[in-house]
């Protein structure tokens, strides 16, 4: 199936450009460090805001990895070569978005220990935390892949992607930050359910809509 072929290509490309991923991780970790300077060495405050910091770090890092994911397609118009085979733009989108998702998830999970150490922000519910990372990363990946495809073809690519993406993913940010916070600080009233529902709904809507409209972004 073409989706398998496309996924295989994506993961091969990811593996081949893993040095770049390392750089993005360092960027994310550095951001986490820098955010703490905004609050100061107040352990209680740092712990309280740790969930916000990790998600901001992930959001900022996502612009780097998302734009790179399309740079490889644009430089020699490889995406066109594949589309003309023919490959369905939808297949192309989902493979790319899934690859970006896995990369962002790995990044998020890799940042957890940094958060734990810097902010004393650990949790017993590790699996749940990983689940939130996965859901939040998915919420960033679908629209992120969509807009990265646009930005890569336009002028001023670096500024265009965050400009388009950030307002859109406010719900993801809110829900992910709240959920993470509840896991770290405590959730006596089981509020996390509503936030997880929001994340799932956002993902359901945007993975569908972006896939549907993606053909318009790549075709001329």
């Amino acid at each position: 199936m073409q989706l398998m072929a496309a996924l295989r290509k994506e993961f091969l490309l990811m593996w081949r450009t893993r040095a770049q991923f390392l750089a993005v991780f360092v960027f994310g970790a550095t951001s986490l460090l820098l955010f703490s300077f905004a609050i100061g060495p107040n352990a209680a405050a740092l712990r309280l805001h740790s969930s916000g910091f990790i998600w901001l770090a992930l959001l900022l890092s996502s612009t780097l990895s998302l734009s790179e994911s399309f740079h490889v397609e644009i430089e020699q118009r490889a995406y066109e070569g594949l589309l003309l085979l023919p490959t369905s733009p939808r297949v192309f989108f989902y493979a790319k978005a899934l690859a970006n998702w896995s990369q962002l998830s790995i990044l998020g999970i890799a940042l957890i220990p940094i958060m734990v150490v810097l902010y004393d922000a650990g949790t017993d519910r590790v699996l749940a935390l990983i689940g939130i990372i996965l859901l939040g990363a998915a919420g960033l990946s679908a629209p992120g892949t969509f807009y990265a495809a646009m930005a890569a073809q336009a002028r001023s690519k670096q500024t265009l992607l965050p400009l388009l993406l950030f307002p859109l993913v406010v719900p993801v940010l809110l829900a992910a930050v709240k959920s993470t916070s509840l896991l770290i600080i405590g959730d006596p009233m089981n509020q996390i359910r509503s936030w997880v529902t929001l994340l799932i709904s956002f993902n359901a809507i945007y993975w569908a809509v972006c896939g549907l409209l993606f053909g318009r972004v790549l075709e001329d």
Binding site: A5, A6, L12, R16, R77
Partner: protein, 238 residues
């Protein structure tokens, strides 16, 4: 040359603009199945644009075109199955090896992507020794050869080559000539846009010349060298 009654490529009134400039103006074209057609013209005359429209890489603004009966605007996927296109941009992944680039393409075409068949293909373009080298380290000519190997994976009924001789050395030129001859032997319709007029005219059946997006001449390729003035103008870029 075998000319079947149904043309492989037909175009009528194709127009395409980029902003204020019309890159193609009312281009007509009819290419019989199994024949080889050349498209000549100076830089900027619209050769690439025409091929990109016919291969559905871009859509026409006005006019209609059909490849083996499929409309380029309405039945893009069907046209894409009928056409193999090699453009200016080679469609390679810089961070992958030659072998991997071929395998990616093969898998998308639902072909066997095992190592040996890919090596055989690379051998046909004299790149077997560099199969596992990353493309970013290749010269322009070598990149072209990888792209040609990709084309050879599964050539469709119509093959379109946009300035295939560009960046190649004399052995590379011969490679293209052999490629076209092989394709024609298999009954494939070939469209070649080129500056190498005499060379291409020697194996093409027909051709057209574009100037500023308009067709200024069309006819049998063998007539082209006889139009001395036109050929000189084109080859010297006057």
């Amino acid at each position: 040359m075998n000319v079947s009654p149904h043309p492989a490529v037909e175009a009528a009134g194709i127009c395409r603009r980029y902003g204020r400039r019309w890159a193609l103006t009312h281009v007509d074209l009819t290419v019989p199945a199994g024949s080889a057609w050349m498209i000549a013209g100076r830089n900027g005359s619209g050769k690439s644009t025409l091929l990109r429209v016919l291969s559905t890489a871009i859509s026409p603004d006005q006019g209609k075109a059909r490849i083996h009966g499929f409309d380029v605007s309405d039945s893009r996927d069907d046209v894409r199955r009928e056409v193999t296109f090699l453009g200016h941009h080679l469609g390679l992944y810089e961070s992958l090896t030659a072998m991997e680039n071929l395998q990616v393409r093969a898998r998308h075409l639902r072909l066997d992507a095992a190592r040996q068949p890919m090596l055989d293909l690379l051998a046909r373009v004299d790149l077997a020794a560099r199969a596992d080298d990353v493309v970013s380290g290749f010269s322009a000519g070598m990149r072209k050869r990888v792209a040609i190997a990709g084309l050879l994976l599964k050539p469709a009924r119509v093959v379109m080559l946009d300035e295939p001789y560009g960046q190649l050395d004399p052995p590379g030129f011969r490679l293209i000539d052999t490629l076209v001859q092989t394709l024609r032997g298999d009954g494939v319709t070939v469209l070649v846009s080129t500056h190498q007029l005499s060379r291409t005219a020697s194996y093409c059946d027909g051709g057209l010349v574009l100037d500023e997006g308009k067709v200024v001449w069309t006819g049998a390729a063998s007539d082209l060298p006889a139009r001395g003035g036109l050929v000189e103008t084109l080859e010297e870029g006057a």
